[in-house]
């Protein structure tokens, strides 16, 4: 086990953009609600948001509040800063399966953990990272 603890990517260096299809996800995140597009016709969940259900092509979409927990599907461990003006730090990019939204994944970061303890199948819970332009990004911590 290492003494290093994984950090969040600094929020003041993160920008996003939105469009009408993706904005409900980000508006919910501002309220610290994790959501994903859900088809009211066939029940399918998917990510990232897009204007049609990929199973039945319906546009009858709603945005249920999810439990905010997830399972690690895979991950990387990075020790170098992605930004030239930020000193090196350790961060753990993760791909997670979202609880309550079967089939929907999120690519995020696992923060506050010993990277050597991260494993596929690990249970995690959402954490919120303020980023540029008053948006909020979902990160995860150990559940």
């Amino acid at each position: 086990m290492s003494s290093v603890i994984s950090q969040a990517v600094p929020g003041d260096h993160i920008r996003i953009s939105t469009d009408p299809s993706t904005e409900p996800f980000w508006q919910a995140a501002k309220e610290h609600r994790l959501t994903a597009p859900h088809c009211r016709q066939c029940g399918h969940f998917w990510m990232p948001p897009s204007p049609y259900c990929g199973v039945c092509q319906s546009q009858d979409i709603d945005w249920p509040t999810l439990p905010g927990t997830a399972t690690v599907f895979s991950f990387a461990i990075c020790h170098r800063s992605p930004f030239p003006d930020v000193a090196d730090f350790t961060y753990v990019p993760i791909v997670v399966d979202l609880d309550g939204a079967p089939g929907a994944r999120l690519v995020s970061n696992l923060v506050g953990v010993d990277p050597d303890a991260v494993h596929i199948g690990m249970k995690v819970t959402v954490d919120w990272n303020p980023i540029q332009d008053d948006w909020v990004l979902p990160n995860f911590r150990k559940a």
Binding site: S17, T22, I77, P82, Y91, V107, P115
Partner: protein
């Protein structure tokens, strides 16, 4: 069903600039280097550059990931009087091996006689290694870029991790890809990395995105490569032995889709190269099987993706790629399927896959540096990436 255009067209000329370490090609420009590669390819084919009447690009006609090719500019620059075909495969380097199929489509449709495929790459302002981290993300990539997976190697490390988890693949398998290709590069004059590599050095290489270390990442280089495709009838009169396009497929399944540009793939697609559908069609198109292939030029942007392609093309069973390569199977000396006999993108140079076409043609002409004896069939693959991915089999003329 066997492809109607099997062996109907051939690659008759290949040309390349020298390969430069990233940024060192300046003050040459993209068009300067592309022009040299195209004219050398014409010379190799025994034609005048003015005989080119078609362009078949891949990577959305990208020249690297920042610049774009424009057929009109190339025509003006090279004095090409008229074209009947100007088309590209979409997305990125995944389509590289499919560009020959695109050229075949233009030629067999009667639109063009001599079609050029070209790639030039110059990394001055923007390194490809961090291309995904630059600039404000689109609404779609806003779900990926904030994670700090800043480059393709970071993204593919997540796939490699899943492969290790599902199948018990070890880093020693990735090391074997790196080591075997370095050995192939030692005597290749065009290779950027030509010094012997020890296993100890491999394990000392810094982790850029665990489980992948720097030596698992391909080179970042500048340069240009072009090849000329024509009909087999015309190819008979060429200066060199033709390399017949025995099969060429591109595409892929929705499950792979945008691949590591989104990470939505279910198992078993996630820990794969996304090539299985195009590989299956390639075998069907040609009537061949993996054991018929004499030399495989497998797109090696990252060592782990070579292992997964070997599985998807059926050189070994799914999940057994690790032990397969560790058995020595991909070695030029003594392997059952020599892979990347030119050192590949890990050790020779990275021109978005085109160096693999050059090597395949050299192998089939019998003039390769590490010549596979009596090589008759060469497999070339495009990069595991967002669809389309692609593969091609060339046959000795």
């Amino acid at each position: 069903m066997v492809w109607v255009n099997r062996d109907k067209c051939a690659i008759v000329g290949v040309g390349a600039t020298e390969y430069y370490v990233r940024g060192k090609s300046w003050p040459r420009t993209i068009n300067d280097m592309a022009g040299e590669a195209i004219m050398k390819a014409c010379d190799d084919a025994g034609i005048n550059v003015k005989q080119i009447d078609g362009f078949a690009y891949y990577s959305t006609a990208g020249a690297g990931y920042v610049d774009k090719f424009d057929t009109a500019s190339l025509m003006e620059m090279l004095g090409i009087p008229e074209v009947g075909f100007s088309a590209t495969l979409t997305s990125g380097g995944g389509g590289m091996a499919g560009a020959a199929g695109l050229a075949t489509a233009g030629i067999m449709n009667g639109d063009a006689k001599y079609v050029v495929t070209v790639m030039a790459l110059q990394q001055l302002k923007q390194r490809l290694g961090t291309v995904f981290g630059a600039g404000a993300p689109s609404p779609e990539s806003s779900f990926l870029q904030p994670s700090g997976l800043v480059g393709p190697g970071h993204l593919m490390s997540v796939l490699a991790r899943r492969h290790m988890h599902l199948y018990g693949t070890k880093r020693s398998a990735f090391a074997e890809i790196v080591m075997s290709q370095r050995e192939n590069a030692l005597n290749r004059p065009t290779a950027i990395r030509r010094t012997p590599l020890t296993l100890e050095e491999y394990y000392q290489s810094p982790m850029l995105a665990d489980p992948l270390c720097r030596l698992d990442f391909c080179l970042e280089t500048d340069g240009a490569v072009a090849f000329i495709t024509t009909s087999s009838d015309r190819a008979k009169d060429g200066k060199n032995k033709p390399a017949y396009i025995h099969g060429s497929t591109h595409g892929g399944s929705r499950e792979w889709g945008r691949a590591f540009a989104w990470m939505g793939m279910p198992d078993p697609d996630f820990a794969s190269s996304g090539h299985k559908p195009v590989a299956d069609r390639l075998w069907e198109q040609t009537g061949l099987k993996p054991s018929d292939i004499d030399v495989a030029l497998i797109y090696d942007h990252f060592s782990a993706m070579v292992v997964m392609q070997l599985e998807d093309y059926g050189f070994c069973k799914k999940g057994e790629g690790g032990p397969f390569v560790e058995s020595g199977a991909v070695r030029f000396k003594g392997g059952s399927i020599p892979v990347n006999t030119h050192g590949g993108q890990l050790s020779e140079a990275y021109i978005i896959g085109m160096t693999h076409v050059r090597e395949a043609v050299e192998q089939l002409r019998g003039v390769a540096i590490n010549q596979v004896k009596d090589a008759e069939f060469a497999l070339v693959t495009g990069g595991p990436a967002s669809l389309p991915v692609s593969g091609m089999i060339l046959r000795r003329g």
